[in-house]
């Protein structure tokens, strides 16, 4: 059970711009949930984890064939900002 949740770091990793007050609130709630979730530690033994899929498949592939793409207008109609067929966003931090 971890000692202290660095909630600000987690919020940064998850790209959530929360206020200090909100962060405190979530930190407390997360603590309570994790206490409950930590019960998973009580599992005895080390069962082999093959996969999460109950029917245990493997090798689900598709052939190398093209399918029609979406109509660009329909796609761009949902975009907050576009120009000349591109999506527009502000620059990433650290872009020269």
């Amino acid at each position: 059970m971890p000692v202290e949740i660095d909630i600000a770091h987690v919020a940064r990793l998850a790209r959530l711009d929360l206020t200090a007050e909100e962060l405190e609130g979530y930190k407390a709630q997360l603590g309570a949930i994790l206490d409950h979730a930590a019960k998973v530690q009580s599992l005895e033994g080390e069962p082999a984890v093959e996969a999460s899929h109950p029917l245990r498949f493997e090798n689900a592939f598709r052939p190398d064939e093209t399918r029609p793409s979406l109509d660009r207008d329909e796609v761009l109609a949902q975009a907050p900002e576009t120009v000349d067929g591109f999506f527009v966003a502000p620059p990433a931090l650290g872009t020269e």
């Binding site: 990793l13 790209r15 996969a51 999460s52 899929h53 498949f57 493997e58 090798n59 689900a60 592939f61 598709r62 052939p63 190398d64 064939e65 093209t66 399918r67 029609p68 793409s69 979406l70 660009r72 796609v75 761009l76 120009v83 000349d84 067929g85 591109f86 999506f87 527009v88 966003a89 502000p90 620059p91 990433a92 931090l93 650290g94 872009t95 020269e96």
Partner: protein
């Protein structure tokens, strides 16, 4: 002054030239209008799901086998989680600890020496969209924006990581070129640096000569040609040496190569230390690359460069020439094989191909596949030079004619009146005439000036409009002069 040993690893990203993307049916195509090859999957729309391209898996296995790697029998995909505007799902489907291929090697020729570079791993992942940074007028606050095109998003990408076995800038370049040539050879990628279908990053560190541990490594990005790769690595080695010699420490960071300035710049850290939170991709199921599948891929592999070079050397070509021919377009190489199969001597056949033929293709800007020369024609030409039917100078003209579609070498030589006169008795007459017409030269020869033979050969050549076999003329003259 310390002697530094560079320790270099190279990371290569290869875009596969499949018809469709890695996880969806959108076309893989370079240069199309932005955002025209997109769908819910590669755009990261809500509800979309990935389904892997079987051909891409065959091709990464081919790459792995060509690099002498072991193929992992049971492999899975992972989610590599990070936020970036050109990464639609804000996670990339990649592979973490069970890459498809691992522990191989690539032999590289550097300055005449063969060096073996270990391959750590090769794994499958999806490419991101393309970001272009522009200044857009009219925006009040931001002088800059990013334009996003997701045509490239989801293209199958193979990441090949070498072991840190490379020891110089030249070797870095050789490794990169060899790898590029290999994937192009396999037919799995266009591997064009200028188009971005192959990309290189270098990890460079240095350590005192003879030391065992590793120095701090620096990642170098943005090298867009083989030359800039070599320059960048060389510069970085020097830079690090300078830092250490001045008592400083090399910082673990990513640096950006500036081709114009000829140096690397530190990139501001995007994230403190990347926590990618890898976990097995729950939208996909495990892959089982069993023996049958591996064998199927292995049996479909073409002859690889190293094996081919060795074969050429066995034919008698020197290592350098073998390399040049090996790197020539497939059509050219096929011509060599057919010509040699038809009885041509390998060295002259190779010479014609790597010299005149490739030169002609460049001059006429022709596609090798359209070349109007067959292997048997080449063999014919080689034989004609060998038996003196044409002089080597005339043979160039003959070849020109054949490439121009004028017909077989013998037909072209006849039509252009290039057949050498090799009839001894006919030539003897002309030789005698030349000697008779040039008594001073004869006298000079008898006086010890053997150089006049050349002049007399020239006279005979003129008399025969250049069609005499100069070797034979020389022989006959010399015989006559000596008495």
């Amino acid at each position: 002054m310390t002697s530094w040993e560079p320790v270099i690893g190279i990371e290569v990203h290869v875009e596969l030239s499949t018809r469709s993307k890695m996880f969806c049916g959108c076309a893989v195509s370079f240069g199309d209008e932005p955002n025209t090859n997109v769908c819910p999957v590669c755009l990261g729309l809500p509800g979309a799901l990935p389904v892997p391209n079987r051909q891409a898996m065959d091709w990464i296995m081919a790459i792995g086998l060509a690099l002498n790697c072991a193929i992992t029998e049971r492999s899975v995909f992972h989610r590599k989680n990070y936020f970036y505007a050109d990464l639609p799902k804000n996670y990339q489907i990649s592979q973490f600890d069970v890459p498809v291929c691992h522990d191989g090697y690539l032999d590289v020729v550097v300055e005449g020496q063969t060096r073996r570079v270990g391959i750590e791993r090769a794994h499958m992942e999806e490419d991101t969209g393309k970001s272009t940074h522009v200044g857009i007028g009219g925006r009040i606050h931001a002088a800059e924006s990013t334009l996003l095109d997701f045509n490239r998003s989801g293209v199958p990408l193979v990441e090949i990581v070498s072991k840190p076995d490379i020891r110089s800038a030249a070797e870095s370049r050789a490794y990169a070129q060899e790898l590029r040539s290999l994937v192009a050879e396999l037919g799995v990628s266009d591997a064009r640096l200028e188009e971005g279908s192959i990309r290189f990053d270098a990890n460079v560190s240095i350590r005192p000569q003879g030391a065992v541990g590793y120095g701090t490594k620096v990642e170098i990005k943005n090298m867009n040609s083989f030359r800039s790769l070599e320059r960048a690595v060389a510069h970085e080695i020097e830079r690090q040496a300078g830092v250490l010699e001045n008592g400083g420490d090399v910082i673990l960071e990513t640096r950006h190569w500036d081709e114009e300035a000829g140096l690397t710049h530190s990139m501001r850290n995007k994230e403190e230390s990347s926590d990618y939170r890898y976990f097995t991709e729950p939208d996909l199921v495990p892959m089982h690359m069993d023996e049958d599948w591996v064998e199927e891929v292995r049996s479909g592999l073409p002859e690889l460069p190293a094996a081919r070079r060795a074969r050429y050397v066995e034919f008698g070509l020197d290592v350098g020439h073998a390399g040049v021919l090996s790197d020539a377009p497939p059509t050219i190489r096929q011509l060599f094989d057919v010509a040699v199969g038809a009885g041509a001597a390998p060295k002259p056949a190779a010479n014609w191909l790597t010299g005149e033929v490739i030169g002609w293709l460049r001059r006429t800007e022709s596609d090798p596949v359209t070349v109007s020369l067959t292997g048997s024609q080449l063999a014919e030409l080689v034989a004609m030079v060998d038996d003196g039917t044409v002089s080597s100078t005339a043979a160039k003209e003959v070849l020109d004619g054949v490439l121009g579609g004028e017909g077989d070498p013998r037909a072209v030589a006849t039509a252009r009146d290039l057949i050498q006169i090799s009839d001894t008795s006919a030539l003897e007459a002309v030789v005698d005439e030349a000697l008779a017409e040039n008594p001073e030269a004869v006298a000079n020869y008898e006086g010890g000036e053997t150089k006049v033979v050349g002049f007399l050969v020239g006279q005979v050549m003129r008399a025969t409009q250049g069609k005499a076999d100069p070797k034979l003329v020389n022989e006959l003259l010399t015989k006559r002069l000596r008495g």
